[in-house]
Each structure stands twice: as C-alpha cells, then as structure tokens.
C-alpha cells in the first residue's frame, strides 16, 4: 500500500475514533456545537450593530474601496471557516502537545513508526467545530445573495487554496509556540500571545493605516504573516481578481510554505531536545 494511502487510512481511523468518542458523550457534543455557534452569533450581532451606524469599514475611496456590510460579512464568514477548520483538526491536538511534553506522554508517540508531527497534529478531530464551518459557509452564501454577485469558478478554487494556506500559517504558528514548551516550560503567557496575535488578523488589513498602522500592517503581513490568513482568501472571493492583489497572493503561498517548513524545523528541534518525564 502506498505511503500516502497508509497515512490517509490512519487519519480516517483518527476521525472515526473521534466521532465514536464524541457520540458517546453526545450531550457534550451538542453543547459544544451550540456554544461555538453562540460565540459566532454574538460577533455577528456586533457587526450588524456597527453597520447600523456606518456603511463601510474603511473609507470608501476609488482606489481603496471600503468593506460594505455584506462584503464584511463575507470576510467574517471566511474567518469563521478558517477558525472552524483549525479548531476541528488542529487546536485540541496542538494544545495537548504542551501537556504531552510536560508529562512525558510524548514517549508513546515517539515509539510509533509514523511521522511524529502527523500523529500529534491529527490525533483528534473535533467534530463539533464543524458546526461553525457550516455556519460560515451559510453566511458566505447569504452575503453573496445580497451582493448579487456570483464568484467565478477560478475564484472559488483560489479561495479554497488560500483558506488552506491560511490554516497552514495559523497551524504553523500554533505548533511552533507549543513546541517551545520543551525549552520554556508551561507558559500561559504564550497562549495569550497566540490569542492577541490572532485578534490582529480578524479584520480587513485596510484598517491599519496611518503612521502607526502602516508598519503594523507590514509587520503582520511579512514578518509574522497572520494578516494574510483571512484577508487574502476573502479578497479573492469578494473583490474581483484585481492585478494589485496578485503579488500579495503569490506571497501568501510562499508564506504558507515557509511557515510550515519553519515550524516543522522548530518541532523537530524540540523533539531532539525532549527530555521525557522522570519516572
């Protein structure tokens, strides 16, 4: 059996086991689905409120169009989709990595004849987070209905591609931070750091203007590329394929690849320095 097929089969088993487990605790599953949707709805209400008072986020000029209500909803839907994917496939696992490092549970994982990063990152699938994915897609559809605009096939394909890039960038950041536990021990502040970094990227990058905004925007686009995560796919879908976006789009793919490579390097380094737990 080919290697890829073998890995895929292992992943299917992970997905299946997670589903079985979630169904065993059905009550919790339902509650988790509802609570994650609740958070999304509260944010949606907030944005509805904002558009009650304004027409655009960002000054609406010819060269830099602002984000109107439904465009912004599409943007928000994109961030939902990306976060849902991240939460469904990676978040619990990377979270657990810090515990595994601390308690020595990583030992068992190191014994398996399978890529360690694969095993760690995909062990658990949080099916309840897919409710948010569904909601995000619904919101996306709803926005396009109101925009009276149907994106071309190319745009949709690129959208999917860039959503994957976005997830990859977020994932890389998460796993690099988690791996640092090997050197720095359990660190709540690191988690907060992750949270704060991602709050920067929840809005269209156009809001970062001015003498303070520009450097911030550049930093979070090119150094820690979190701004491209939601922005690029959203723009791809909502704005037509404008030529000015192409360099950024190209950069995003590079950034995604580089992030994954860099984070894998950090991860391997962490494994080499892993000290297990005393017994």
């Amino acid at each position: 059996m080919g290697l890829t097929a073998a890995y895929f089969r292992v992943f299917l088993t992970f997905a299946r086991n997670s589903l079985v487990r979630d169904m065993t605790f059905r009550g919790n599953f339902i509650i988790d689905s509802i609570t994650s949707m609740a958070w999304m709805l509260l944010n949606l209400i907030f944005y509805l409120l904002i558009f009650h008072y304004t027409d655009f986020i960002g000054a609406n000029t010819a060269e830099n169009p602002g984000w109107g209500r439904y465009e912004f909803f599409a943007f928000f839907a994109t961030s939902l989709v990306i976060n849902a994917l991240l939460q469904a496939f990676f978040m619990t696992n990377v979270d657990e990595l810090t515990d595994l490092i601390r308690t020595g549970g990583l030992d068992f994982i190191l014994l398996k004849p399978i890529d360690t990063q694969f095993l760690i990152s995909l062990r658990r699938v949080e099916w309840s987070s897919l409710s948010n994915l569904a909601l995000g897609l619904v919101l996306l559809g709803y926005s396009f209905v109101h925009l009276a605009y149907i994106p071309e096939v190319v745009q949709v394909v690129l959208y999917v591609l860039y959503v994957i890039c976005g997830v990859a960038i977020y994932y890389s950041l998460m796993i690099a931070l988690a791996s640092s536990t090997v050197w720095m021990g359990r660190n709540q502040t690191l988690y907060d750091f992750w949270f704060y970094i991602t709050t920067f990227s929840r809005y269209p990058m156009e809001i970062y203007t001015g003498p303070w905004g520009q450097p911030l925007r550049s930093f979070f686009t090119f150094i820690i590329p979190v701004l491209v995560v939601v922005n690029v796919p959203a723009r791809m879908l909502v704005r037509l394929l404008e030529k000015q976006n192409w360099p950024l789009a190209g950069f995003t793919i590079l950034a995604a690849a580089a992030s994954v490579a860099a984070s894998r390097w950090v991860f391997q380094l962490a494994l080499a320095n892993y000290r297990s737990a005393s017994s």
């Binding site: 409120l49 008072y53 655009f56 986020i57 502040t189 929840r202 809005y203 809001i207 001015g210």
Partner: protein, 268 residues
Amino acid sequence: MLYFTILRISIAERLAYRVDFALGTLMRFLPIVTQIFLWDAIFRGMTSGPGPIAGYNYHDLIAYYLLTMVSRAFSSMPGLASSIARDIRDGTIKKYLLQPVDMLSFVLMSRLAHKLVYYGVATGPFALVFWICRGYFSGWPDAWTMLAFIASLLMSFLLGFFLEATLGMIGFWFLEVSSLLFVYMLVSFFFSGQMFPLDMMPSYWPTVLKLIPLQYMAYFPAAVFLQKVTGPQLAWGLAAEAFWVVFFYLSARTMFHYGVRRYSAYGG
C-alpha cells in the same frame, strides 16, 4: 486577624510573579490597538461624514474601551466559579468545612490579595498606556464623578465576586457546570459592555440591558467616568448596583449553607 494573615500570605505568593504580571498586563492592551484602528475605519466609512455613534464619538469609544479594562480589572474573577464547582465535585471543599475558616471569606480575601498585587504591579503599565492614550480623553471629570466612578468600581469587585461565587455554588446541585459557565462567559462578554457600549444597542434594548447586573462588570463604571450617565440616572444606577451586591452576597451565602447541608447528607 486570621483573614489579614491569609491576605498577607497570598500577597507574598503573588509578588513572586512580578515580571510576568507586568508583561501580561501590557499584552492585555493589545486588542485595544485593533479597536483603535477598527473604529477609526468605521467612522471613516460613514458616507455622510463621521458622526457620533449613540452619543460616543471616536475618542469616546477608545476611552470607553480603555476604561472597561479598568472595570474588568476590578470585576473579573477568572476561574472562580469553575474552581468552586471543581472543589465541590472532587471533594476538596471539605477542607474548608473542617477548618475554622469561612470558605467564602477565605476565597474573597484570596481574590482581594490577587487584585491588590495586580494593581500594585499593573498600575505602572496601566498608567503608561493611559498616558500614551491621553489624547482620547477630554481631561479628568469632576470630583463627584470620580467618587461615583470609584464607588462603582469597588462595588463591581464585590458584585463580580459574589455573582461568580453563586454560579460556582450551583455545583452543589449539578455535577457538570462547565457548560453553564461557558454560556455565562459568552453572555456576560456581550451584555456587560465589554464588546461595545450598551448604548449602541437599538431601540429599547439599552434600557432592558441596564436592568440586569451584568452592566456593572464593564459598561457602568466606564460610562460614569465618561459622564454618559449623570444626575438621577447615576444615583439610581449606583443604588441598583448596591442592591445587586447585597442580592448576590445573600444568594451565595444561602446556597453555600444549603449546599453544604445537602453535601454532607450524601456523605460527600
């Protein structure tokens, strides 16, 4: 005297984490940076030119968010409800029942210690941030307003404590309270005014929301400082806040009393 000792020991414990405090505190202001840009973009996006939103102009809004950081510093009780529920669930609560210490007072002192140290160290970073952002404020309010502001803050500490304590006590009757607490967290984030000033809600909503005690956790003190709540409304608001403090104090006490009885009846 006992409680003062507990306070002193807790403070010593907390002081060991000074640097982490300072850095962590500064980091807490990072979301404000995004708010600063976001609201600017919102105002600029108004086709008919920037105008106040529910009585708040741009500077007011940023000042509001900064002030809610202050109110939250007083009223937030991270993990209080869940740790009480957990202690009940795994039996650790028996420790309090056996010792000649009243649990609620003990935990209150512990939280007070945490807050005092937090302010001791966080005053620096807070002051720094506020000074940097002084352009968003239109000066200091008058003495009466300051007094009302401080009163509302102190009460919000007590209110936050007893409200979360009450929630934690539910653990005496229901084993799994984590979902309930999560819902509370979500709801309070929205309705306390942390996300946006409650006045922004359309039509009758602001009036309704100001009836529930959640507004005192973030919105009310900030609104008082910014003089969005004045005169009879202010007096009424403060009185209502005091009422809620007493209400939740009593509810926490009562639930503790009956909860312990029930607990012992089941052999713990």
